[in-house]
C-alpha cells in the first residue's frame, strides 16, 4: 500500500514531522512482534498524546489507509504485523497512570502503561491488578485488553476481560466511544477484549483493582505422571477449592528450569504442580488439609509448602523462568496456547506429546492446569526452513487436537495471523460469517488491523456446521416465515421483564431442556427457555450451584435482557439464531477462549436486537455461591457500534429495534 503524499502531510501537520516516520530503518524495526511474522508497514506514527488518536484515524479513514495499533508488541500471534502495509500507530508512549482510586477500587490508565508498572504502584497501597500475564514486566494494559491476556491467577480471578470497567475507544472512522460496564446493552468492553485492534484503538482504560491478599500460601507438589497432576486439579474443583493459582510443568520444563534458575524443583518428578491458596489463615489451613489429602490420593510424591516468603518467591521465580529456560536453548521458541475442558487435559496432553514425538520436536509442556490452558514451548531455529515448516505443521496438528478435544486454538495469546488459518478448525461457517460481519460493522473499509483473526476463504475450509436441535430448527423455521412475511418479531423468554402485550412475540419457552450438568468440568449447559426455578431445582438435585438467583424468568432472558450483568463472566459458551436463520456456536466448557470475538459478550444484554440466544453453557460450583444481583430492565443506548451491528446482522429489522426505536 502506498500512502498518498497528502495523507502524510495531513498526519505530519497533526502530530508533527518527527512523529510520522517513513524511513527504511524505522519501518523495518516495526515489522515484527514476538511471533514469526515480519511485514513492513509503510509509515509509522508515534502518538504524542491520546487526543491525537481520533483525528489520526479520521485522516486514515478518509484516505482508506490500513493501520495497526502497536504497543509493546510482545504477543505471540502476529497481531501487530502490518500484513498489507499501511500505518503502525505506536501507542507505547501513552504510558501514564492517571489515577489510582483505592476507595472505589479502580485505576485510570493510558493503554501504553506496562502491567508490571501498575502492579508496582499498587503494591505499596495494598492493592493489586488481578490479570498477570507472564510478560507483565514488559507488556501493556492496552495490549492485554486487545489480546484478552491472562495468566496464572486466571482460574480464580478471570482474565483481562473481567477487569476493565470502562474504556474510551476510537472506531476506525475516528468516532469516539465511551464504553462502560454500567451501561445497559451488549457488553462492548467484552467484545473489545481479544479483538486484537481489528475494531479500533483503545484510548484510555479504567481497570478494576483489588485489595491484595494478606495471607498467601504456596505449595510445590510432585507427581509420577502428568495425568495424576491434572486429575488432582479436577478433584480440587470438584471439592470446591479454587486455588489462587494452579500451574503445572512436565519434566522437560522442570529440568530446563533447574539448569537455568535453580528454583529447587525435583528434577526426577515427571510432573509438578505449583498451587497457591489465599484467604483467611483459618480458611487456608482448612483448604491446605483438603489439598494435601487430594494430592496424596492422586499419588503425589512430595507435598512441600513454602515456609518463608523467600521460598515462595523462589518457587515462582522458577515458574516465571520457564520461558527463559527454553528461550536460551535455540533462536526461537514457539509457544502454543491451546485450551481444552479441564477433563480433557490428560487426553489432549497425550495427543500433544505424540505429535511432538512423531515430528521429532523438542518441546516442554507447561500449563495453567486450572483453566485447561497448556503451552507447548517448542524450541527451533527459524533460519532452518525445513525445521520451521515442521514446527509450524506440528503446532497446527496440536491445535487441531485441542479442537477435537472440545477446546479452542487460543486460550490467552490471541489469533493474529499465526492462528488465523486454524480458526477454521474451531468454528463453522455461520460463526465465522458472524465474526466477519462484526468486523464489517465496526470497520466497513477494513482498515483496522486487516487480515487478522478471520481465516481467508473459509467457506470451504470451515468446520462443518452441526444441525441444530429440532426445537431450535423449529424456531429457525418460524423466523424464516416471519422474515418472508416481513413481520417483525418481539423476542421474549418468560416475558417476566419485558412484560409486552405485543401480538408478534416469539417465545423461547419451547427450548426447555437442561442438556448437561458436568461435574468434572463444573459446567452446565441448558437451553435458553429453561426457567431459573427449573434450573435451580435441577442443579440442587445434583448438589451443585450456580450464580443465578431462582425466579420465574428464563435463563436466556436473564442473560440477554441485561438485568444480570454480573452473570456474564460465568457464561462460557452459547448457541444463537441470527435474524437470517443461521445458527452460530461459540465457546463451550472452556474456562477461557481468546479465539475470535467474544460472542457471549456480544449477545449478553443485547436485548434480542442482534440474535436469539438458544443455549448457554455456564459455570457451576460445588459450594453455594452468592447469586448475582438482578437489576430492573433498562433499554440501552443505541451506540454507533450497536447501530452498525444491527444493520449488518438484521438489515430487514426482523428482531426488536434498537432502543429509541430506530436501527439506522
Amino acid at each position: 500500500m502506498k500512502i498518498p503524499a497528502p495523507a502524510i502531510r495531513a498526519l505530519q501537520q497533526l502530530v508533527g514531522k518527527e512523529n510520522v516516520l517513513t524511513d527504511d530503518v524505522s519501518l523495518s524495526l516495526y515489522a515484527y512482534d514476538c511471533s514469526l511474522s515480519r511485514t513492513r508497514p509503510d509509515a509509522l506514527i508515534n502518538l504524542p498524546n491520546e487526543q491525537a488518536i481520533a483525528p489520526i484515524l479520521r485522516i486514515l479513514h478518509q484516505y482508506a489507509i490500513a493501520f495497526v495499533a502497536r504497543a509493546a508488541a510482545t504477543n505471540h500471534a502476529g497481531s501487530c504485523a502490518a500484513l498489507n502495509g499501511g500505518v503502525i500507530v505506536n501507542t507505547a508512549g501513552l504510558n501514564r497512570i492517571l489515577q489510582i482510586n483505592t476507595q472505589e477500587g479502580y485505576a485510570l490508565v493510558e493503554p501504553g502503561v506496562i502491567t508490571g508498572d501498575l502492579q508496582d504502584q499498587l503494591a505499596p497501597l495494598g492493592f493489586f491488578y488481578a490479570p498477570d500475564p507472564a510478560s507483565e514486566r514488559v507488556c501493556t494494559l492496552g495490549g492485554n485488553l486487545a489480546q484478552n491476556a491472562s495468566g496464572a491467577r486466571c482460574m480464580k480471578y478471570g482474565g483481562t476481560i473481567d477487569h476493565v470497567l470502562e474504556a474510551d475507544f476510537v472506531l476506525p472512522d475516528g468516532t469516539e466511544m465511551h464504553l462502560s460496564r454500567q451501561d445497559p446493552g451488549p457488553d462492548w468492553i467484552g467484545l473489545l477484549a481479544g479483538s486484537e485492534g481489528t475494531l479500533g484503538i483503545i484510548k484510555r482504560m479504567k481497570v478494576k483493582i483489588l485489595p491484595a491478599a494478606k495471607h498467601i500460601k504456596t505449595f510445590l507438589v510432585t507427581f509420577p505422571s502428568l495425568a495424576d497432576s491434572v486429575q488432582t486439579v479436577s478433584d480440587l474443583a470438584a471439592q470446591g477449592i479454587i486455588p489462587r493459582c494452579v500451574e503445572a510443568m512436565d519434566q522437560v520444563t522442570t529440568r530446563a528450569v533447574e539448569e537455568f534458575a535453580h528454583a529447587g524443583y525435583p528434577a526426577d518428578a515427571q510432573a509438578l504442580l505449583i498451587l497457591e491458596l489465599d484467604g483467611t489463615p483459618a480458611q487456608i489451613e482448612k483448604e491446605e488439609k483438603q489439598l494435601e489429602s487430594i494430592c496424596l490420593q492422586n499419588h503425589a510424591q512430595q507435598f512441600i509448602p513454602a515456609k518463608t516468603e523467600e521460598e515462595r518467591q523462589k518457587l515462582w521465580f522458577g515458574r516465571r523462568a520457564a520461558y527463559a529456560a527454553m528461550a536460551r536453548l535455540a533462536p526461537n521458541v514457539m509457544v502454543g496456547d491451546g485450551t481444552v475442558p479441564r477433563s480433557e487435559l490428560p487426553r489432549a496432553l497425550q495427543k500433544v506429546r505424540q505429535i511432538l514425538d512423531d515430528n521429532h520436536i523438542y518441546a516442554s509442556l507447561l500449563f495453567h492446569a486450572g483453566d485447561g490452558n497448556f503451552h507447548p514451548q517448542i524450541v527451533f531455529d527459524e533460519r532452518n526452513k525445513p525445521d520451521a515448516v515442521r514446527v509450524t505443521r506440528a503446532l497446527k496438528e496440536i491445535l487441531q487436537a485441542c479442537v477435537d478435544c472440545g477446546g479452542t486454538v487460543s486460550g490467552e495469546h490471541g489469533v493474529g495471523v499465526e492462528k488465523r488459518a486454524v480458526m477454521a478448525y474451531q468454528y463453522d461457517a455461520p460463526t465465522l460469517d458472524l465474526f466477519a460481519k462484526i468486523k464489517r460493522a465496526a470497520d466497513p473499509q477494513n482498515i483496522a488491523n486487516p487480515l487478522k483473526l478471520i481465516p481467508l476463504d473459509y467457506a470451504n475450509k470451515a468446520r462443518p456446521a452441526l444441525p441444530p436441535a429440532p426445537a431450535v430448527q423449529a424456531l429457525a423455521e418460524m423466523l424464516r416465515i416471519r422474515r418472508e412475511a416481513h413481520d417483525p418479531i418481539a423476542l421474549i423468554g418468560g416475558n417476566t421483564r419485558l412484560r409486552t402485550h405485543a401480538p408478534n412475540t416469539l417465545s423461547t419457552r419451547s427450548l426447555n431442556r437442561i442438556l448437561e450438568i458436568d461435574k468434572t468440568n463444573y459446567t452446565a449447559t441448558a437451553e435458553a427457555g429453561v426457567t431459573l426455578d427449573e434450573l435451580a431445582q435441577a442443579l440442587a438435585k445434583e448438589n451443585v450451584f450456580c450464580a443465578l438467583p431462582a425466579g420465574k424468568g428464563t435463563l436466556g432472558g436473564a442473560f440477554a435482557s441485561g438485568c444480570m450483568p454480573d452473570f456474564y463472566p460465568h457464561v462460557l459458551g452459547l448457541q444463537a439464531l441470527l435474524p437470517d436463520g443461521s445458527c452460530v456456536r461459540y465457546g463451550g466448557k472452556l474456562m477461557k477462549n481468546a479465539a475470535g470475538y467474544h460472542l457471549t459478550r456480544l449477545f449478553a444484554g443485547s436485548q434480542g436486537t442482534l440474535g436469539l440466544v438458544t443455549q448457554l453453557t455456564f459455570k457451576i460450583f460445588a459450594q453455594p455461591v452468592r447469586p448475582v444481583r438482578a437489576c430492573s430492565f433498562r433499554p440501552g443506548k443505541a451506540t454507533p457500534l450497536w447501530r452498525a451491528l444491527k444493520t449488518q446482522l438484521d438489515p430487514e429489522g426482523l428482531f426488536p429495534s434498537l432502543p429509541g426505536g430506530t436501527n439506522a
Binding site: 514476538c34 508515534n46 507488556c139 533462536p331
Partner: protein, 437 residues
C-alpha cells in the same frame, strides 16, 4: 551448528571484526548471536533509551533486528546510514538488556560490530583524535592533558566558552568536559601520585593500571587504590598512561585495540612469568580485559595468552579486606551500576556486598527500572540522551533521599556529580574505592 549459509556484516574486512562473540552459552558468530533474539521484548523495559522514547528504534530488540536485517542484506545500510547511526549511537552499551534477556544476547557487542562495519565515528572527531594519542603518542598525550588542565585552571576555557568559541562545530564537547571535570587537584595529591609513579618496587606483587580519569583528573582515586593495595601488603607497580585498548574497542579500530591488548599481555608476561595480578579502578576496563580472549578468536596462540592475562585481571573490589567494619551513623548510600557491556557478575556482586556490610540498613537497593549513569563517554556521543538518562538516575537518588552514590568508574562519578550538583546537591557521587576516603 545450523547447516545454512551464515551471513557476515562485513565479509571483506574480517580483521576489523570479532570473529566470534563469547556468550554464556559458548562462542557464537555475530549473526548467530543476533539470531538468538526471538523478539520477546523482555529487554525493552530495561533499556534507558527505550524508556525515554518509547520507540522501537531506540530499543535493544530494535537494535538487534537492525543488525540481523543488515547481515541478511534486507536493509541497505549505505542508503540508510543516518538513521542506522542514530539507532546505533544512541545505545549506551550498558548491558541492561543482556541482564534482562533470557538468552543473554550481547546487544552492546552487536552494536559495536555494526559500528565497525559502518566505520562510524561516534565521538567528535577532535576528541577522538586527542584521546587516541594515549595509545599512539603517550608522552604527547600526557603533556597535552597537563597543559589543558593548567589552561583551564587559568580560566582560558571559561573565557572560550564566554566568547562562544566552544560553540564552533566540533568543539562543543569542550563544554561538557569543562562541566564534568573537577577542580585542579591540590598540589599535595599531585605530588603524592607523582611519587607513586616514580617509585618502582623491586619485587612487585601487584600491577595497577590506572584509568585515564584516575591518572589525570582524580588523583585521589588512584591514591585510594594504592592505599587499599598497601593495606593488603602489596608492593604495587604502576603502569601509567597505558592504553588498555578499550577506547579503540568502543570508538576506534578493533585492530588497534588488539595491538594495545597484545602490548599489555607481553608487558605482563615479562614480569614474574605473567603471574602478577593486574588491578584496575574502572569496571569498564575490567570487564573488557576479562573478555580479552574473544578479540583473538582467530589466533589461538594469542587467545591462550589473553586468557592467562584475563585471569590475572582484578577490580578494586578484590582489594577490600574480607571483613569490613560497619560505618557509624551515615546518610543513605547506593550503588550506581553504570558500566559497559554488563551489570552482572563478580564486581557488581562484590561491590553490593561491601556496601551492604559497611552501611547495613543505610544501603539502598536500586529498583527495577532505576537508570545508571551512562558509561565511558556516552555523554560525549549523545549529549541530549545522556543528560536525560543521568537525570533519571538523579531523580531516583532524590526519591530515595540518598546521600552518597558509589560508582564503579571514575568517569561515572564525574558525570553523576555534575548532575547532582545541579539538581540534587544534597547528594554526591564517588568511586567505591574511596569508601574510606
Amino acid at each position: 551448528m545450523p547447516d545454512f549459509y551464515t551471513p557476515q556484516l562485513d565479509p571483506q574486512h574480517p580483521a576489523r571484526h570479532l570473529c566470534r562473540l563469547e556468550t554464556p552459552f559458548g562462542a557464537r558468530t555475530v549473526y548467530d548471536s543476533v539470531s538468538y533474539c526471538n523478539r520477546c521484548g523482555s529487554c525493552q523495559q530495561a533499556c534507558p533509551t527505550y524508556l525515554l522514547t518509547s520507540q522501537e528504534t531506540f530499543s535493544p530488540r530494535g537494535r538487534n533486528q537492525l543488525v540481523r536485517l543488515a547481515a541478511e542484506g534486507k536493509l541497505n545500510l549505505t542508503r540508510n546510514r543516518r538513521q542506522a547511526e542514530e539507532t546505533l549511537n544512541s545505545c549506551l552499551l550498558c548491558g541492561r538488556c543482556t541482564q534482562a534477556c533470557a538468552g543473554k544476547i550481547p546487544t552492546a557487542e552487536h552494536m559495536l560490530e555494526l559500528r565497525r562495519t559502518l566505520r562510524t565515528q561516534a565521538l567528535p572527531a577532535l576528541l577522538f583524535k586527542l584521546l587516541s594519542w594515549r595509545g599512539t603518542r603517550p608522552t604527547a598525550f600526557r603533556r597535552l592533558v597537563h597543559t589543558g588542565l593548567w589552561l583551564r585552571r587559568l580560566g582560558l576555557l571559561r573565557f572560550a566558552r564566554g566568547c562562544g568559541f566552544t560553540r564552533l562545530p566540533g568543539l562543543s564537547w569542550l563544554n561538557h568536559a569543562d562541566d564534568i571535570l573537577p577542580a585542579f587537584p591540590p598540589a599535595a595529591q599531585r605530588r603524592a601520585l607523582h611519587q607513586a609513579f616514580a617509585n618502582t618496587p623491586a619485587e612487585p606483587t601487584l600491577i595497577y593500571l590506572p584509568s585515564l580519569e584516575a591518572e589525570f583528573f582524580l588523583p585521589q582515586l588512584a591514591l585510594s587504590v594504592l592505599q587499599l593495595a598497601s593495606q593488603k601488603k602489596h608492593q604495587t607497580l604502576l603502569w601509567p598512561n597505558t592504553s588498555s585498548g578499550l577506547f579503540e574497542y568502543v570508538y576506534g579500530d578493533l585492530r588497534q585495540s588488539r595491538r594495545w591488548v597484545r602490548r599489555l599481555i607481553l608487558r605482563h608476561a615479562s614480569l614474574h612469568k605473567g603471574k602478577l595480578p593486574v588491578v584496575t579502578d574502572s569496571v569498564d576496563v575490567y570487564l573488557f580485559l576479562r573478555r580479552a580472549p574473544q578479540l583473538f578468536a582467530a589466533w589461538p596462540y594469542w587467545q591462550n595468552k589473553a586468557q592467562a592475562f584475563a585471569d590475572c585481571v582484578l577490580f578494586v573490589t578484590d582489594l577490600f579486606p574480607p571483613k569490613l567494619s560497619p560505618a557509624g551513623a551515615s546518610a543513605r548510600v547506593r550503588l550506581d551500576c553504570g558500566a559497559l557491556f554488563s551489570r552482572e557478575g563478580k564486581p557488581f556482586e562484590e561491590a553490593r556486598k561491601i556496601l551492604k556490610t559497611h552501611f547495613k540498613k543505610n544501603f539502598v537497593e536500586c529498583l527495577y527500572k532505576d537508570a545508571g549513569t551512562p558509561a565511558f563517554g556516552y555523554s560525549f556521543v549523545r549529549g541530549n540522551l545522556g543528560e536525560k538518562i543521568c537525570m533519571s538516575a538523579v531523580r531516583s537518588i532524590a526519591r530515595t533521599q540518598t546521600g552518597t552514590v558509589f560508582t564503579l568508574s571514575g568517569l561515572a562519578a564525574l558525570e553523576l556529580n555534575f548532575q547532582l550538583k545541579r539538581f540534587y546537591p544534597q547528594a554526591k557521587a564517588d568511586h567505591l574505592a574511596r569508601l574510606n576516603g
